[in-house]
C-alpha cells in the first residue's frame, strides 16, 4: 500500500520534472519579466478557450456563467457551445476563471508575452513561478456542481448500526449464535478436524483462553436461565482484576453444546484478534477486554 503510494508520487514527480524541462526549452521571454504591468499602447490579445460541464446541456448553465480575467479586469461571455473569447487583453499574466453559480471550474493562469505568445499553466499561489502546463486554447472541464450545503445530522438506525464499534460487537455475536446451527458438529470426524484446526489456530495453550471463558459465559447464562425453569445448579462467579483478568465462571451444563459453541467462539476470537487488532501487542487481551466490557 505504502509502496504503491510512494511509487505513484515518484511518477508524478517525474512527470512534473519532464514538463518543467519542456517549458524551459521553449520559453523565450518569460512573461514574468513583464510582471503584469500594462503598457497602454501595447498590442491587445485574446484569450480563447472552451468550458464544458459533462452531462449538462449548455443552455442550462451558460446564461448565468461568465469568464473573468484577473478578478473583473476583463470579462468574456460564453457562446452557446461553451467556447469563449476574452478580447482586448494586453500582455501579462492573468488568472482566468469561469464563474458559474452552479458548477465549479478550476482556475488557470494564462501568460501572454509582449509578442503575443500564449501559454496556460496551473495556478499556484505559493510557488508562483512553477510551471505545470495546461492545454491552450483553454479546456476547462467542470468537476461537478458546487457543494454549498452541509448534510443534516440525522439520527437513524442505519447510522447506529454502521458505527464500527457496534458492528464489531454485533457481527461476532450474530456469528456465534447462528453458525453452530448451520454446521453439524455431532459428526465425530468433523469434530476431530475442528479440534485440529483449533490447535493450529491457538498456538499458545498455556494462556488462559478467552473462548473458554466465553463458552462458560454463554453456557452459564443459558444454564442460569434454565435454572429458573429447571432448577439445575450453577456455581458462583469469581472475578479477579488485573491486566489479564478473566472472569472465571464455572458452571456445569450440557457439555456437547458447550463444545459446539466453544469451537466457534474460539474461531471468531482468533478471527477478531487477527483481523481487528493486528496492531495491538497482545491481541488476546484486547479482544478479551472488549468482550468483557460487552
Amino acid at each position: 500500500m505504502w509502496l504503491h503510494v510512494r511509487l505513484s508520487e515518484v511518477c508524478l514527480f517525474l512527470q512534473a520534472m519532464f514538463i518543467l524541462a519542456c517549458c524551459f526549452s521553449d520559453m523565450e521571454s518569460g512573461p514574468i519579466a513583464t510582471s503584469g504591468s500594462v503598457q497602454p499602447n501595447g498590442d491587445r490579445f485574446k484569450i480563447e478557450g472552451r468550458a464544458i460541464v459533462p452531462g449538462v446541456k449548455t443552455q442550462d448553465w451558460i446564461s448565468s456563467a461568465r469568464v473573468t480575467v484577473e478578478g473583473e479586469e476583463y470579462i468574456g461571455f460564453l457562446r452557446t457551445d461553451g467556447s469563449f473569447v476574452v478580447n482586448d487583453v494586453p500582455s501579462g499574466s492573468y488568472v482566468v476563471e469561469v464563474i458559474s453559480p452552479g458548477y465549479k471550474f478550476e482556475a488557470v493562469r494564462v501568460d501572454i508575452t509582449s509578442k503575443g505568445k500564449m501559454r496556460a499553466r496551473l495556478v499556484n499561489f505559493i510557488k508562483t513561478s512553477e510551471v505545470i502546463r495546461q492545454p491552450y486554447p483553454l479546456q476547462l472541464r467542470s468537476s461537478g456542481p458546487h457543494t454549498y450545503f452541509m448534510k443534516r445530522e440525522t439520527w437513524g438506525w442505519t447510522d447506529f448500526l454502521m458505527n464500527p464499534m457496534v458492528m464489531m460487537m454485533v457481527l461476532p455475536l450474530l456469528i456465534i449464535v447462528l453458525l453452530p446451527k448451520v454446521v453439524n458438529t455431532n459428526d465425530p470426524e468433523m469434530r476431530k478436524e475442528m479440534e485440529q484446526s483449533m490447535n493450529m489456530l491457538n498456538p499458545n495453550p498455556e494462556l488462559p483462553d478467552v473462548s473458554e471463558f466465553m463458552t462458560k459465559l454463554f453456557s452459564g447464562s443459558k444454564s442460569s436461565s434454565s435454572k429458573a425453569i429447571g432448577g439445575s445448579k450453577c456455581q458462583n462467579i469469581t472475578c479477579t482484576s488485573g491486566l489479564r483478568n478473566y472472569c472465571n465462571w464455572s458452571c456445569h451444563g450440557n457439555y456437547n453444546a458447550i463444545f459446539k459453541k466453544s469451537f466457534f467462539i474460539r474461531l471468531y476470537n482468533c478471527f477478531l484478534s487477527r483481523v481487528f487488532f493486528p496492531l495491538s501487542n497482545n491481541p488476546r487481551v484486547c479482544t478479551t477486554l472488549v468482550l468483557c466490557q460487552f
Partner: protein, 887 residues
Amino acid sequence: MSKPTSLFVIFFSLFVMSEAVFEDQVGKFDWRQQYVGKTLFAHFDSHSQSSKKLFLATDKNIFASFNSRTGELFWRHVDKAGPEGTIDILLLHGQGDNSGRLLRSWDTNMGGLNWEAVLDTGSFQAACFVAMQDTVKHVAVLKKAAISLHYLTNGHQKWVENLPDSDTVQYQAVYSGGEEEVYVLGVVPNSHLTIIAYSLEDGEIIKQVTWSRTLCVVVGHGVLMCVDTATLALYVDTLVCNRLYIPVLVSSQPHPARSPISEFFLQLGPDHHVLLQLNADGYTIAPLRDFQPSDVFPPQLYVHAFLKKDDSVGYRVLVQTQDHALTFIQQPGRVVWTREEALADVVTMEMVDLPLTGTQAELEGEFGKKADGLFPMVLKRLSSQVILLQAWLAHLWKLFYEARKPHGQVKNEVTIETLSRDEFNLQKMMVMVTASGKLFGIDSKSGSILWKHYLENVQPNAVFKLIVQRTTAHFPHPPQCTLLIKDKDTGLASLHVFNPIFGRKSHIAPPALPRPILQSLLLPVIDQDYAKVLLLVDDQYKVTAFPSTKNVLQQLQEMASSIFFYLIRSDQGNLSGFRLRKDLSTERIWEVVLPTEVQKIVAVNGKRPNEHVHSQGRVMGDRSVLYKYLNPNLLAVVTESTDAHPERAFVGVFLVDGVTGRIIHEAVQRKARGPVHFVHSENWVVYEYWNTKSRRNEFSVLELFEGTELYNSTVFSSLDRPHLPQVLQQTYIFPSPITTMEATLTEKGITSRHLLVGLPSGAILSLPKMFLDPRRPEVVTEHSREENLIPYAPEMPIRTEWFINYNQTVARVKGIYTAPSGLESTCLVVAYGLDIYQTRVYPSKQFDVLKDDYDYVLISSVLFALFFATMISKRLAQVKLLNRAWR
C-alpha cells in the same frame, strides 16, 4: 510539508466550525432581489404574438431579458463596470447587441453569446441592421472615421471603408431601407450635409451627394429642419444659439427591411414634443399634435403596438421614470408590474428596530416608570396581565379562524400597520438610500418594500450619509433618521429628517447649512427627546448642532473639552484632530502630514460605535492572560503609493489615535498596491491588497495587545497610556480577488467573529476570524493546541460551504451591512450591489436558541418510552417481590 499541514487545517476546520447553510433552509431566512439599473435601451420581442420576452440594456452595463408578464428576470449578463463596458446601442432582430468596441450577438432564448467581434478603435456613432429582400443579413456600424459591415450570422467583417473627409464631416447616422445600399449621413456644421451611399456587396461608394441648405426650412421655435427624400433622413439645427437644449428626433422603424414610419416625434425641449408627419410628397412636414409641457412626458417611454386578433390595435408600454422605476403598462391602462430599479445602486443603508406593539409598550412602560405605591403597582401589573391574556386569546382565535379557511387564501401580507418587533428582534426595517435619491423602507424578513420616498433635486454626484438619531426604544417618541446629502463638487449639504418606519418626513425643521460641510459626527449626548446630537463641521471649522435646543447646547458646553474629532484632506495628505471649544468653535490640536508626492490617503476608518467587546483579553496556553488593546479612538489610515511601478509600489497602514494624534503603529507592505479593503474592529485590523511581485491577493492581520498586564483596567483614556501596544502581524495568501469586506456584529460581542468577504463571483464568503489570527503557530506546541490555534498555513482556504448565499450570487457587491439581532448568536447581514441579499449568520452556531431542525419527536418519544419503561419495570419489580415473599 505543506500537504500534511493543509490536511490538518481542513481536519481542524471541520471540527471547529461547520457553519453553513443546510439545504432545507434555502429561502427560509434569506431572500435575494435582482436588479439591472436604469434602462437605456428596451426592445419587445415582437416575433410572435405570445412572446413574453423583453430585452433591456441599462446604464449599469447590463443586458437582460425579462418576462414581460411578471417582470422577472430570465437571464442577465453583467459586463465590466465603468466606461469600458458601456452599451452603446441595442438592436434587436431575433438577436443582436452592440457594445462599445465589441460587437456582440446574443441568443435570446438561452442567453448565450452567438459571436463577438472586435471593432476598430474610434468613437461609436450609430449602427443599424441592413436587410435585403426582407431578410436581415448584415449589421452596419458607423464609427467616427469608418463604416464597417458585419455578417449577422458569425460577426465576420464583410468590408470596412474609410469615410471621406472624416476630419471635417461629422457622420451621424447610418440607414438602410431594404435596398442594396447603405446610406451614411454626415454634417459639416454650418455648411452642408453629405450623404454617401455604399454598395452592400463590396463597400464601394455608389454616389455621394452634398446638400446645401436650400432645402431646409425653419419650423417654429427657431428650429432649422432639413429633409432629404433619398434617405428619408431629417436634419435639425437650432438657429437660436443660446438655447441649451438640442432638439432630438425620435422615429420608429418597425422592421429593418422596410422604411420607417413617416410619423415621428420632434423633441424641442425637455418636456416639449411635437408629433410630425412627412407628407406623401416627401418634402413637407405637417404637425399632427403638439405636446406642450403640460403633457407629462416621462424620461423614457417604450411603446410596443401590435395588431390583435380582431384587427384592433393593442399596445404595451414600458415606462422609465425619473426615480428609476420601471413600469409595464398594458392596454386598458393597467399597470402589470413595477420594478424599483433605483435599488440597483444602493449607496448606504441602516437597519432600524421595529416598534413594539401596544401591549408590549404597555409592559415596557410598567418597568420604566417610578414606583408609586404598592397598591397601584399591583393593579397595574394585573391590568397588564389581563391585556396579555386578551392578546393571547385573540392570537389563538386568529389561528383557529385561519385554520378553517382554505389554505391558499391565508396570506401573511406585511403592511406598515401590522409591523411589530418579533420576540428575538430578528425582523427589522432596512432603510436604503439609493444614488438616484430615492429612499426605501424594506422589511428585512420578506424583502417587500413598505415605503418609498423620492427626494427631488438631488444632484447625480451627491454623497449620502444616513444617521439614526433616535431608535424605536424611546416610546412614545417616534424613531428618527437623518440623511445628510452633500454635493460632491460644492460641498454644500442639506438634511432630510424622516421617520424610518413610515418614511414620512419629520416636522422637525433641519438647520440651514450655508457653508460646505467637512465632517459630521454623532455624539452619544441625547437631548430631552432622546435624540442623539449630530454635529456638523463646516469649512471654517464652525460647528452646527442638530437638534440645537437649549438643553443640548448646555450639555455641549459642559462636555466641550472632551469632544474631539478629526478631518481628512486626502488631496493635501493631511490628517488633523480638533477639539470643541465652549462657544462651539474648534481648535486644532494635532496634525499628521503624509506627503502627497509619496503616498495618498485612500481610506480612514474608526471602529463601529455600536460594537461591543465581551472579553478583555485572551487566555493563553500557560494560563496567563494577554490583554487586548481596546482603544475606542483608534483610526486606521490606509495609504497607497503614488508610484505605480510594481517594484516600488507600496501600501501603508497607520494606526493613529484620534484624540492625541499619536501614531500607534505603522505597517508598510512593499511591492503591493490597492485596491485595499480593510476592516477595523476590536483590537485588530484586517486588510487585503494585491501583491505585485507574486501577483496574488494577500490578507494581512494586525492585532494589538497591551501585554499581560492592563495599565488601567477601569477606563480607557487616550491621554493616559504611556506604553505602546504590542503589535502582532501575519499575512496569508487569498486565492481570489475581493470586492468588499465586513465583520459580523452581535449584540454583546460574545460570539466569535467572522469576516464576510464579497467575491467578484458574487459569492459572500464567511471566513472565520480564527484563520486570521497572528498567533497561529508555525510549529504546533502544547500551548497552542490548548489555545485552539490553527497551525499556520500560507494559503487561506475558500470552501463553498462557507458561502452564506450559496448559489444566490450578488452581482457587483458594493457593501455588506451587518446588524446585531436580539439573539447573541445571530447577526443579520445585508449585501447590496446590483442585487440585494439578506440573510442571518450564526458565527458560533445557534447556541442560545433551539435549532430550527430540533427533533421534538425523537426527544418526546424517548421521554415517553423511558416513562413507560419505568412504569412497567416498577410493576414487574412489585410482582417479583411479592413472589419472593410467598416463597
